[in-house]
């Protein structure tokens, strides 16, 4: 009986942890306010730390460049944190080298690229 309880408790704990993690991911995707397009809840969030992004014209430039791509569901440019969050559609991807090239061609340098599957 004791063994069954422990196994049941472990399974419950596993399921709730998994569910909580999923919920946190969904909460995170809900918390991000996209300025253009939307967030694909089954896609990938790519966070890019950018150099030289000092005004709204810069933000518009980056937004226009990425919103033209079919892989992109939405984008948010955060001037406070100097980063850009790109929501990629599920089953779609843009390689890091292409992302860096798109920023360079728009006139900006990047520091880091982080990815998170939702």
């Amino acid at each position: 009986m004791k063994k069954i309880n422990i196994v049941s408790l472990s399974i419950l704990l596993f399921i709730s942890t998994f569910a909580l993690a999923n919920e946190q991911d969904h909460m995170e995707s809900n918390q991000i306010e996209v300025q253009a397009g939307s967030i694909d809840p089954n896609g990938t969030l790519v966070t890019v730390a950018v150099e030289g992004m000092v005004c709204d014209f810069c933000a518009q430039a980056i937004e226009k460049v990425f919103m033209k791509r079919e892989e992109v569901a939405g984008i948010t440019v955060n001037l406070d944190d100097q980063n850009v969050i790109i929501s990629l559609k599920s089953e779609k991807d843009i390689e890091n080298t292409i992302i860096e090239e798109l920023f360079l061609n728009a006139g900006y340098n990047i520091q880091t690229i982080d990815r998170k599957k939702l």
Partner: protein, 212 residues
């Protein structure tokens, strides 16, 4: 004649450039600048972030002439840092000047201008410098330069209304009052940038830029 050819050569082939004169790739910019000396209108297209090509019209109030020019801006160098950006541009144009001022009744003259422009900007501070040499044969040849500094009293995020307190100094060595001082306000909202001010000669400044 030789001087004219050299001047034309410099205009066409030099890599020297005028402030934020290039947009993002495939972007259009329309701007008008109006101060005590000039009314200008400029529209340009940027195939890449490195250069823009457009049409510029200007009207000189004092000399009563108008200029219609093909205008080319080039970004020579950009320095991107985590919280700042600096740029160095060349600006040049070649076109036609029309005037009926004084003895120059219905006079048409080929004209050109060339200059450099640089700026350094954070989200709080702004500094820029720009100069221009204007040449139109015997009608008008002059050098002018200007410097502008600014501070943002608050920092807005993307999409907010941004406000700047700015101070501009114009230096036109060939005029009687060579120096002009203009305190101005810059408002920046989405795709619109508007500057409003008044100089020490009580003349109004109004600049408006739209990017699309």
């Amino acid at each position: 004649m030789l001087i004219k050819l050299i001047f034309l050569f410099i205009i066409i082939f030099s890599n020297v450039s005028f402030a934020r004169p290039v947009s993002y790739p495939e972007g259009w910019t329309w701007m008008t600048k109006n101060n005590s000396e000039l009314n200008t209108m400029h529209i340009h297209y940027s195939p890449t972030f490195r250069y823009s090509l457009g049409y510029r019209a200007e009207y000189s109030k004092a000399e009563e002439y108008s200029v219609h020019a093909l205008h080319y801006n080039q970004l020579i160098k950009r320095w991107n840092r985590r919280h700042s950006q600096a740029n160095f541009y060349t600006k040049k144009g070649i076109g036609v000047l029309f005037t009926d001022f004084g003895n120059y009744e219905s006079k048409k003259k080929y004209t050109g201008y060339i200059g450099i422009s640089s700026d350094w900007e954070t989200r709080r501070y702004f500094i820029s410098y720009e100069n221009r040499y204007f040449h139109s044969g015997k009608i008008n040849n002059y050098f002018s330069q200007k410097a502008q500094i600014g501070i943002a009293p608050y920092i807005g995020n993307y999409g907010d209304l941004h406000t700047w307190l700015m101070f501009k100094t114009d230096h036109n060595p060939e005029t009687t009052n060579a120096l002009t001082y203009t305190p101005l306000l810059r408002f920046f909202y989405k795709t619109h940038l508007v500057e409003i001010g008044a100089n020490n000669k009580n003349k109004v400044l109004f600049n408006w830029t739209i990017r699309f």
